[in-house]
């Protein structure tokens, strides 16, 4: 499909330091390699992050009320979650993980549907074809291959679709990540790999996950351009992903992006991060918050005033209230569904088993 030519490694290497456009304290830091997103995009990024964090807080609260079985928070990762999603075009596809509910909601999926998995009602609560979002993936790194296959199929069919796949730093250690990067590079598939390096895989810090200076260095081994970006800088993430999507759409192949960020909460509400990391580290990252830095920048630029801020907050609050209310309802599940979607048509054995279960239920009621 492609031929191997000797290309200087430097063509594939990321920058030594993460790219950024807005520093932690909100100061602009122009980069010749990166265009600052337009003002309206910056505002959408900001709104998206505020809504995203509010959603996240709400979801965590729902676990305490027993409305959700479990929730993996993305607090602190809003810039990566929202910055990447807003860089997608409508026809593009997202391949998210369990961590990326916020991104899936930002992509337009009904939050109640998104939370169906975590409330324990069904494995995936939304129709992937409605918002072009694959089911949230739990087996680590396996979604990378789906993204590559999907993107390759689009090219075969002559369709202009780019896959964006999200994975964590831990998932980069799995063989599937390697195979996906390689298949994508060899096939020149229109895929963007976004590694959200949030410092931990549950309790395991990055230093036990890799000995490389950066996860983005892996791209070189596949002949794939790699980008290291400040994952708490929504403007930079957006710019970098937008560039990668454009490259992919233009037939130039995949890009590997490492977004350096931090998981502010425990792995899930069931985890206790104080068992394995220092408070000081968390506090240190609090100063690099993705939302407050963009707020500062927008305020300094005169793009955000108190009134606008109030509107944004109010809207996020409304969304959360609506979600809370809609989640505060007992759902009624049909056990017969257990047998309906195993094959296109239930087999004789499954019909038999469904009948047995139905019979049991009748007996129970009798």
């Amino acid at each position: 499909m492609t031929t191997t030519e000797r290309t200087a490694a430097s063509c594939f290497l990321p920058s030594d330091e993460p790219l950024g456009l807005v520093t932690a304290d909100g100061t602009p830091a122009p980069d010749p390699a990166l265009a600052m997103p337009a003002d309206d995009v910056l505002l959408r990024l900001y709104r998206g992050m505020v809504s995203g964090r509010r959603f996240d807080t709400q979801a965590t609260a729902l676990t305490k009320q027993g409305r959700l079985a479990v929730y993996p928070s993305a607090r602190g990762q809003e810039a990566a979650e929202i910055g990447s999603i807003l860089a997608l075009r409508p026809q593009d596809w997202l391949f998210p993980t369990y961590r990326d509910s916020m991104a899936v909601v930002a992509r337009g999926v009904d939050p109640v549907e998104v939370l169906t998995l975590l409330r324990g009602d069904w494995h995936c609560g939304y129709d992937p074809y409605r918002a072009n979002v694959a089911p949230q993936c739990t087996p680590l790194a396996t979604n990378t291959l789906h993204a590559v296959g999907f993107a390759h199929a689009a090219r075969v069919k002559g369709e202009d679709t780019v896959s964006l796949v999200l994975v964590g730093d831990g998932a980069t250690s799995e063989g599937d990540t390697h195979e996906a990067l390689n298949f994508a590079a060899v096939w020149k598939a229109p895929v963007v790999f976004l590694v959200q390096n949030n410092g931990y895989a549950i309790s395991v810090p990055l230093a036990k996950q890799t000995a490389a200076p950066s996860l983005a260095y892996k791209g070189v081994g596949y002949g794939m351009p790699s980008v290291l970006v400040d994952g708490n800088d929504a403007a930079a993430v957006h710019a970098v992903v937008e560039q990668a999507v454009a490259r992919a759409a233009a037939g130039e192949g995949p890009t590997l992006i490492e977004a350096v960020t931090y998981r502010m909460e425990s792995h899930t509400n069931a985890d206790d991060a104080t068992r394995y990391r220092e408070k000081a580290e968390v506090e240190q990252w609090r100063t690099r918050d993705p939302i407050s830095r963009l707020k500062q920048y927008l305020t300094d630029r005169g793009l955000l005033d108190d009134k606008a801020q109030q509107e944004i907050d109010a809207r996020a609050e409304e969304e959360a209230a609506a979600l809370r209310e809609r989640m505060n309802v007992d759902t009624k599940l049909d056990p017969a569904d257990l047998f309906r979607h195993v094959y296109a048509e239930p087999t004789a054995a499954l019909r038999q088993q469904a009948a047995e279960l139905a019979h049991e239920s009748t007996e129970d009621q009798a």
Binding site: H123, P135, F150, A348
Partner: protein, 338 residues
Amino acid sequence: MTATLDTTLSLAGALNRALADALAEDERVLVFGEDVGTLGGVFRVTDGLAARFGDARVFDSPLAESGIVGTAIGMAMNGLRPVIEMQFDAFAYPAFEQITSHLAKLRNRTKGQVELPVVIRVPYGGGIGGVEHHCDSSEVYYTHTAGLRVVTPATPDDAYTLLREAIDSPDPVIFLEPKRRYWEKGTVDPQRRSPGLDKAVVRREGSDVTLISYGGALGTTLEAAEAAAEEGYRAEVIDLRSLAPFDLETVAASVRRTGRAVVVHEASRFCGYGAEVAAQLSEHCFHYLEAPVLRVAGFDIPYPAPNLEQHHLPGVDRILDAIERLQWDDAAPLDGEK
């Protein structure tokens, strides 16, 4: 271009024809894997397809089985119908997570919204003098996994029909190709209507005992039935074709008539496919059985080296022995012997 009626083909040739016809008739079909392009596969099953259909539709992928299955899943999500090859049985194991956690479950996970019409072709089983890791009978790993269809042809005719139906199926299909039968020839009628992707067929009629087999072991079972006839046992032989789902109806109908059954397969006996057949027959034909359902299977050992495989594989004698042990006269019951 569809094949003409009643051609004589090897089993491998029939598969090749089925792939060619499917590629010709359905734009969404594509074939990829290790060495399936230019080379035409190590068993030549995809011979000539890349030349005929171009390397966008028939091509070599990088060497990684999880990658092959995982990308096939993505392609199927996007409307294609990939037919992929695992070069040998044991080399599908790297893809086990993609197969069990995604391929088998994605329809279910999405309440039927995502359909994965993927066919995984797996040359399987022994009998060809292959070295270690090239001869596994891995069917149970798949049949125990809900959401997969598992089929295996034993004749060229079925090879053609089952593969076409597998490709047309909206469900993922593990398509097990009995390597040792690749070169056996038979008549293939591409227009033949099949009994169905999930139906067993009676390959030989008989009234004394039902022999149940599939894939590579079917031929041996038919030979055994022939030999049994000389010893006075009229054996009925059933070719399961579909391992998942299991066609209980056809098998039970036969066993209720004959009252005796032997399951024959190459895979290890312990937790092998024969256990399910025996368990279902014991449950559903309890009062018809004159003797326990016996299993003639591979031993509970790793597949042996070529020069020892003839001891491992169920042969005609072992099947005849089992038939003779079916308590024909009032001999001591088997379970008393233990």
